[in-house]
Point group: C2
Chain length 379, copies 2
Amino acid sequence: MQGFEIISVDSHCPARVGVLHTAHGDVNTPVFMPVGTRGAVKGITPAQLAETGTVMVLANTYHLLLRPGAGVIQSLGGLHRFMSWPGPILTDSGGYQVFSLATLARVGDDGVEFSSHIDGEKIYLDAEIATRAQRRLGADIIMCFDEPAAFPCEPARLETAMERTIRWAKACKKTHRKGQQLLFGVVQGGVDLRLRSRCARELVKLDFDGYAIGGLSVGEGRENMLETVEHTAGLLPADKPRYLMGVGTPSDIIAAVRAGVDMFDCVLPTRNGRNAVAFTENGPLRLRNASHIKDARPIETDCDCCCCRNFTRAALRHFFNVGEMLGPILLSIHNLRFYQRLMNRITQALEKGCFDRWAKEQLVRANLCGCPNKQGAGT
Amino acid sequence: MQGFEIISVDSHCPARVGVLHTAHGDVNTPVFMPVGTRGAVKGITPAQLAETGTVMVLANTYHLLLRPGAGVIQSLGGLHRFMSWPGPILTDSGGYQVFSLATLARVGDDGVEFSSHIDGEKIYLDAEIATRAQRRLGADIIMCFDEPAAFPCEPARLETAMERTIRWAKACKKTHRKGQQLLFGVVQGGVDLRLRSRCARELVKLDFDGYAIGGLSVGEGRENMLETVEHTAGLLPADKPRYLMGVGTPSDIIAAVRAGVDMFDCVLPTRNGRNAVAFTENGPLRLRNASHIKDARPIETDCDCCCCRNFTRAALRHFFNVGEMLGPILLSIHNLRFYQRLMNRITQALEKGCFDRWAKEQLVRANLCGCPNKQGAGT
């Protein structure tokens, strides 16, 4: 029952329309997953989230392991009930946060010992433990424990991290119980295409339910990122879903879909929303600006979100100006709706057979007007 | 068209069921109005607010005058559009906040000069200016500019404040344009029943659309408060709505309805919600307590709010523990729904003719179990 089905592939590029069948429902791809780090998309109720057109969400194993703990969530009936999200959920493995947030005590070929960024508690994580923790959380898709490398990274360290990622993927595969949870491998290797090739080749041999491209959007720059995505996506089996982790701006997503990527997650819509920056067709709108004080227009006239249907830019500016919670809430909702509408437009272009041309136009336009490429810049 | 209609009066006490006809719809009384201080009920969208059963909301003129300004709101089409609240709205006069938040520069018989608590800007407010500002905001019910006294207060000062309140009420009445906005007088006089009597008598002569009892719940204690409410409500015309400002706990509301009060506003449900304290039939529930870590129950089994229908106490405890916005949001929604369900129970008891007995039982129960009387204590 669970698995991936390709509906159509574009005739000019590897972009495709698909359906991901999960234990908690079907997901049309390409799909964007909002980030519910600690069991909640910040400030948004599940009903509001569903209204944005969201079908699938991501939660972070690392954060949930620290608080409230995988055992607590399991005893409460699993992550779906805990978050009150009846649809599909994906959990990452915790690797990214361990290497970016925690204080590392010891990284070995077997696993990682680190101190929690909350209270300094010493924790040990390896492929087996991370996979078991994700089993207890009970997401529909779980990820192999991996070691992403920072950017820039010494070639030798990058290679070690990549080799460990392969080793750990084997251990995850061994620990994983075939059943309702799909297990994805994560390709690492920084922007070194040779390392990416080796990692992809080894992971594909292990026959995962899907493949993620990890370790990007960490400072390597857009060109390097897209080159790596195009290269790596091409090495992954066409009949399995491809997931680009933690990316990105609207134009990053369009470019990656064009390279054959099916799944995305990113904190940009919610983080920018909390920081008073709205995504729009015409580029970013900074709601704190005094120019909005008397502006009776919605953020976007043609947007159907509850923010645009009900509130003026002036009211939003006021909410941010006085520190009302409703500012971040409404703008996060708008930005998520913007992303979901973007995914709808991508899918429609694919279904109409005009995606490649449409995508090129969008990417040129983004470069010309400095948006939506640079939406995330400086926020 | 606008005005008050009494549907029924209890046979054992002055409690009554009524309908308040406003330019933005009818309001069944007794009514509880959530507080949207700066144009938003903290953390709650209008759709979520309507779902709690809320029909009418309050906004604070003082806060809106400072930011974004009455002129800005008027230019955007008024407060209803600004807040995106299509139902009835009441604004207070600003008097309470001027005397409690601002730094007073000069209080005279004509008006008050004060410094904004935001940026120290010098502002002058008097009856005429406050009434005009409320006209610009465009609420359905506006209040006379008054001088509430702190508790305790020197008898001479209390009397001066009360006399000014009468003088200013006359000026407000003169400035007020008969039309869509109803104007309420505010009875002051602290807990001095003689002063309350004089103030009520003078205001009643001016024939307002309704009468508020102000200056209570400022430290005078529950017994003094209820004695003052009973005394004052009895002096106000039976055919006009009576509004007890800024009060209170569930048992305060039950007792005041029993004294013939029709309208209430209070920050307790939202403030307690933000502070992780839930209102329940069985008294306050402190969601930060470790006892909730694995508690799979909702806050209240029989509550139909989106918090109780979807989230466990364990999840709420987690949200507060990690600082997720969803904790304050969900608990504010639950507490508002608790208050609106309380108002429904009051109305049902009145309609069934058993209110007086029911109210006595509730008040005894509240005293016995220390709840919901003491819900607000220490939070």
